[in-house]
Point group: C2
Chain length 318, copies 2
């Protein structure tokens, strides 16, 4: 469950980010007017379907897993593109489009020569997703409900997420959540903390920075200890330094999978989660789950766009 | 002046083309219903602005030339994408969008593992371009008016093209025309032949197949002799075998520029024309014009999409 968004990907230099006050590697929400201004200033772009959890589901399907996506587009051309790409991947996607209201969301992604991506999201219809759009049978049937932090920000989809968690847990299913930096800002952090404390999350994905922000601690080790007490499975991605998982007192660390040239880091975390979840749903060991995530992440940063191009199923050999 | 279209690019295998009765390497026009059916069957796609002459103008701008584009999008999301990409390249594009009528055109491009592209165009607003949308001052100010054969098919834009030629010649400017296979079908071939006979075209780009079809001859040599008598400058592209130009009795042939792996041949002819026209507008020799075209074409077939990615200006060193 996550943002239903089309990525608009363009290259830029570091000076462009500075000129537009965009912290490199960050994600910010833009108003439609702000998005139009930034788009006008951006270079030639290519459009590809995106969205963090949607990218993950694309990855799950590419690795031979069974995936569905819940998220909301509008009835417009970008929405049709998003729908097409989900279904073409074999991802079930039945959330009805928003008929009246803002257009399908888009994310203006600026890729600098070092491969880092800076994301500028105009969420549109995506953030109007409400609980009545949930397919409860679908959620109850899935072994894992996977939730994306970006969609936890705005009130309406946050309420829908809380409802989805109830449905999943009532059906005795597991709930996985990927922190996104926007979860960690004021207001959201507190409601997210309460959800974790109440046992809402069985498996938490985050990076080191998000772990620090969420716990409010200055020391990473302490932050991870705190989080690992609250969630049964904690998975922390560390970029080029690999990843670590803490589960039932067990702690496993792996290095990053080898990459050729880093072209565009968009989707690295999404594909890591995809690999981990696919392996887990097939009953693989914790270490194998980490490795599968690392291999999927390595594939996606070797090219433009946040969805796999290579034959991931063959690469991960699950 | 040409089609204003967004490309929807997906990979497929040869069996997919056979199943859908699509001759490899061809271009066909689809009704909206046919396009929807094919799109549903296609795999995951990426969207990039396209259109034959529009790709050429993108190339001219990338090589440091001064370019403008005349073509018609609709007032919708794909139209906004097309406009953005033209302007982001530095191509002047002021044709007002169509307010009521069909949506912005799209071209479903299927790329097979051998790098060949099969194009399926749903032209939409693009083929509703009428003569009253022409910017006559712009046409009169340009040293070369470049026309795309695909847009010569439908009646309304064909009339607009004939009008544009009049404006250009009245201002003592040159007219270049690129044959597209669709020019060569019944009805269009005759009106195009009349235009050539009346001195409407100063510079004609075509490939060998188009030369045979247009002249109705079985022998290539005779076809080129016939065409070279009718147009002051004839430029024939021959794929991997290079290109040849015939002008004022002079005949110059060059081999193709070296390419690494052929990824996607979409835009090869468009970028060849771009290189030739840019060099010509800067007063380069006929041989230099051919080489510039060959270098630009070689760049574009090394990656997905019909517009240059590398620094063409540096590559062609004009």
């Amino acid at each position: 469950m996550g943002d239903a968004i089309v990525d608009v990907i363009a290259s830029c230099d570091d000076a462009f980010l500075t000129r537009h006050n965009l912290p490199k590697g960050s994600m910010q929400l833009l108003t439609p007017a702000e998005a139009d201004t930034l788009y006008s200033a951006m270079g030639v772009a290519r459009e590809m379907s995106g969205g963090s959890a949607a990218n993950s589901m694309a990855g799950v399907a590419a690795m031979g897993g069974s995936a569905a996506f819940i998220g909301q587009v509008a009835e417009d051309q970008l929405g049709m593109i998003f729908e097409h790409d989900m279904r073409a991947l074999g991802v079930r996607f039945d959330t009805p489009p928003l008929v009246e209201g803002p257009p399908t969301g888009r994310c203006l992604i600026l890729v600098t020569p070092d491969g880092q991506r800076t994301m500028n999201t105009c969420p549109g219809a995506s953030h109007e997703l409400s609980a009545d759009k949930l397919d409860r049978e679908l959620i109850a049937s899935a072994s894992i409900l996977f939730l994306e932090g970006y969609l936890f920000g705005p009130e309406k989809p946050r309420a829908a997420m809380m409802e989805a968690i109830k449905v999943a847990h009532a059906a005795n299913r597991r709930v996985a959540f990927t922190l996104s930096e926007s979860v960690c800002i004021a207001g959201r952090k507190e409601s997210f903390g309460r959800m974790i404390d109440s046992g809402g999350v069985d498996l938490l994905f985050c990076n080191e920075d998000e772990a620090l922000q969420l716990t409010g601690r200055a020391d990473l080790k302490n932050a991870l200890v705190e989080l690992s007490i609250k969630v049964p499975t904690l998975v922390v991605t560390k970029g080029a330094e690999g990843a670590v998982a803490i589960e039932n007192g067990e702690r496993i660390a792996i290095p990053a999978a080898p990459v050729g040239e880093v072209i565009d880091t968009t989707g690295a975390g999404d594909l890591f989660a995809a690999g981990f979840l696919t392996a887990r749903s097939k009953g693989a060991s914790l270490e194998r789950c980490l490795w599968t995530g690392a291999i999927a992440a390595a594939e996606v940063i070797g090219h433009y766009g946040a969805r796999p191009i290579a034959d991931l199923k063959a690469l991960v050999k699950l």
